[in-house]
């Protein structure tokens, strides 16, 4: 057993953390609302190879992507990295042509010629979509309508998907799509665990600083004990997301189950942790000026564009039953 990132992985973590510290300060994240896209940050991410590293022959596995996604989540980075990575892997798998176009993935299958709440759909050039048992590559220009939303994410509804190119059909198309959505679950879980860890740090720092009734807020058990509960959950969410990502290469028979576990647990943990971190700010937490509200809203959005925690947990049961 070794739960520590190795030297190469640590270097990767440090490189991305450094980039986000420079280009994704909370002021910049705030300035990128409501579109939820910072073009300069995205350019830098592409330039250092954030999408390329996701490709099968890059030498990086899903565990490396998850470690990067944790940092992405910690900084609430307003860039469509996870969607672009997962889409690039899926495209490569079905023999699609690599291109410089920004491709995203509609994580829920299209219904009636329409894909709703497509992550990064408002800023991407193309989207991969499952329509019945056909995997399509749909150019988004003229088809996507941006959707204002809770997390200030660049979501879009996409109509008229029939004009897309068919990349695969039948069972292979469906299973490739499902495998890609599982990868998205794990990377989103990793991002949510990073978000939750950062929110906990913000909350803890605030209750050490702020006093009431002549004591720091953190000296009241009604505050401290609830943060202690969150600390255990945040560590658990991180361990579980990392385990799921590790299993992709090392214990593939458990991957689908762990992916659903990781997303359900990380989404619940992020929602609960941001609730407490914001709540202990009192009225300040409710003000736009304080960053904690940005964590609170994203915690409730990132995973929810696919499924609720209850749906993730039902999937755990389904996947186990099918095995």
């Amino acid at each position: 057993m070794d739960l520590k990132p190795n030297a190469d992985q640590q270097q990767l973590i440090d490189a991305f953390a450094g980039l986000y510290a420079d280009l994704a300060s909370t002021d910049r994240v705030s300035a990128a609302e409501p579109s939820g896209h910072d073009a300069a940050l995205w350019q830098q991410l592409v330039a250092i190879g954030a999408v390329e590293m996701a490709l099968p022959d890059s030498g990086a596995g899903l565990i490396e992507l998850a470690l990067v996604a944790e940092q992405h989540g910690r900084y609430l980075a307003p860039a469509p990295m996870i969607e672009a990575q997962v889409a690039a892997r899926l495209l490569a798998q079905v023999g699609g042509e690599p291109s410089d176009r920004l491709t995203t993935l509609a994580v829920r299958p299209a219904v009636g010629g329409r894909a709703e709440l497509v992550p990064a759909g408002a800023v991407a050039d193309d989207a991969l979509m499952l329509d019945g048992d056909r995997l399509l590559l749909v150019p988004l220009t003229g088809r996507a309508t941006a959707v204002a939303n809770l997390g200030c994410l660049p979501l879009a509804d996409v109509d008229d998907i029939g004009g897309g190119a068919v990349l695969a059909t039948g069972a292979p198309a469906v299973s490739a799509f499902e495998a890609a959505v599982d990868e998205w679950r794990v990377l989103t879980a990793a991002a949510l665990s990073g978000l939750a860890a950062a929110a906990l740090e913000i909350g803890v720092a605030y209750v050490k600083e702020r006093t009431a009734f002549d004591r720091p807020l953190g000296a009241f058990q009604g505050v401290a004990h609830r943060l202690a509960d969150r600390a255990s959950e945040v560590d658990g969410a991180q361990l579980l997301a990392r385990e799921a990502a590790w299993a992709h290469g090392e214990e593939p028979e458990r991957f689908a189950e762990l992916a659903a576990m990781a997303l359900g647990f990380a989404a619940e943990t992020a929602a609960d942790t941001t609730w407490h971190a914001l709540h202990f700010h009192g009225g300040y937490g409710f003000m736009l000026e304080y960053p904690i509200q940005m964590y609170f809203r994203r915690a409730r959005t990132w995973g929810a564009v696919l499924e609720s925690p209850a749906e993730s947990y039902r999937r755990v049961t389904d996947v186990r039953g099918a095995a």
Binding site: G218, M261, Y313
Partner: protein
């Protein structure tokens, strides 16, 4: 990164499963259930014969020098099967303590009998008037000739009715601050003045209250320095292996899932979601416990990691038991002994048992204090 426990641990897991298949009979389990006592002499002898009583002892202490990850695999399998390991654990834990800091005479007297599974040692920390605040112990030990006279009472001295000794924390100096006036003794229970009274609990486990009325204890049974009891306690807790609190979750969700499949209720979305969530919480509990053991094996700062594991796994077990009962409905109330009881009453029993787990071995509030101060760096809270 590698989430596997490793070859050595998996080999020991396999050996433990084989051992349990052979020695943990239905008869033994039924006996433990009927008496509420988590001890069986034949089983303890089998553990002895297998050479596992000193599991976790270093080579220099006379053990096999197993690493913390091997102990995790061993503990997971023992606990998963509900093997009667509690009295073995307290006995060998205190024997290990005596091996480390007892006198030659104490070692000669206790260690061979402990290694031969001939004696049982119970723990006497908690009292009727103090629990989590163990240093508030009021049971008095007063110098009398070449020994000590003990007066007081100890609560939850589990197994005292079958034990030979109680490892006791007693007050030897009431005039100094509370942590400084304590001394530990190994009190032989066959002394005049000792009275053991049964205490029955909600989960069916039998424990005891023990009374000490002018009980004479020779000074040779004092462990450690006079008034140095708190230091001894710190050593005792250090040698105590991190307990496994997630195996109950496994037993509960296995029973729940089996019931759901057999009854057709798996089609109920709320049932399916709760089963998936219970499996997820079991996975997280496993990871948190393994992380604490891994950190210890790497010599990393593990302070608070055991508390996180204990807090999460026991709090979630309680939620699981209560929500599972709600989802199963009225038939879940039927207890073991009723032929129609759901999964032989496993769910009903877990509602009883789970409540205890957030109390013993450090209440959830104590764990939260430790996490708040040592992991989050928060001030002491009140």
């Amino acid at each position: 990164m590698d989430f596997r426990l490793g070859e050595k641990a998996e080999l020991l897991r396999k050996e433990t499963i084989e051992f349990l298949d052979e020695h943990l009979t239905e008869e033994i389990l039924e006996g433990c259930h009927a008496t509420g006592v988590n001890h069986d002499v034949e089983f303890a002898k089998a553990v002895r014969d297998r050479g596992w009583l000193t599991m976790g002892w270093s080579v220099e202490d006379g053990g096999d020098g197993r690493d913390p990850l091997e102990l995790i695999a061993y503990g997971e399998e023992m606990h998963r099967r509900n093997a009667p390991m509690y009295a073995i654990g307290t006995t060998m834990g205190i024997a290990h303590l005596i091996q480390k800091l007892g006198t030659d005479e104490q070692q000669r007297e206790i260690i061979p009998k402990a290694l031969n599974a001939e004696i049982v040692i119970a723990l006497g920390f908690t009292e009727p008037e103090n629990g989590s605040d163990a240093a508030a112990a009021a049971t008095r030990a007063v110098r009398t000739g070449d020994g000590w006279t003990i007066n007081g009472s100890k609560m939850f001295t589990t197994n005292a009715h079958i034990a030979d000794y109680v490892f006791m924390l007693a007050r030897t100096n009431p005039d100094v601050s509370k942590h400084r006036g304590l001394t530990t003794f190994l009190v032989p229970l066959d002394q005049p003045g000792v009275e053991v009274q049964a205490v029955r609990t909600m989960s069916g486990e039998r424990t005891n209250i023990t009374f000490y009325n002018d009980v004479f204890v020779a000074d040779k049974w004092r462990i450690g320095e006079v008034d140095g009891g708190w230091t001894v306690m710190a050593t005792a807790f250090l040698t105590e292996h991190s307990a496994s609190f997630h195996a109950e979750q496994w037993r509960l969700v296995e029973a729940f899932e089996r019931w759901a499949r057999e009854s057709g209720r798996l089609r109920d979305g709320d049932v399916a979601a709760r089963i998936g969530k219970s499996h997820t919480e079991f996975e997280v509990s496993t990871l948190l416990q393994r992380r604490a053991a891994w950190a210890a094996s790497e010599g990393l700062d593990a302070h608070g990691l055991g508390s996180m594991s204990k807090l999460f796994s026991t709090e979630r077990l309680e939620q699981q038991a209560n929500e599972t009962l709600s989802l199963v409905g009225p038939d879940g109330l039927r207890a073991r002994g009723d032929d129609t009881a759901v999964q032989r009453g496993t769910i009903e029993h877990m509602v009883r048992h789970a409540k205890g787990t957030t109390i013993y071995a450090g209440t959830s509030e104590i764990q939260r204090n430790i996490i708040g101060q040592h992991v989050l760096g928060l001030p002491r809270s009140y």
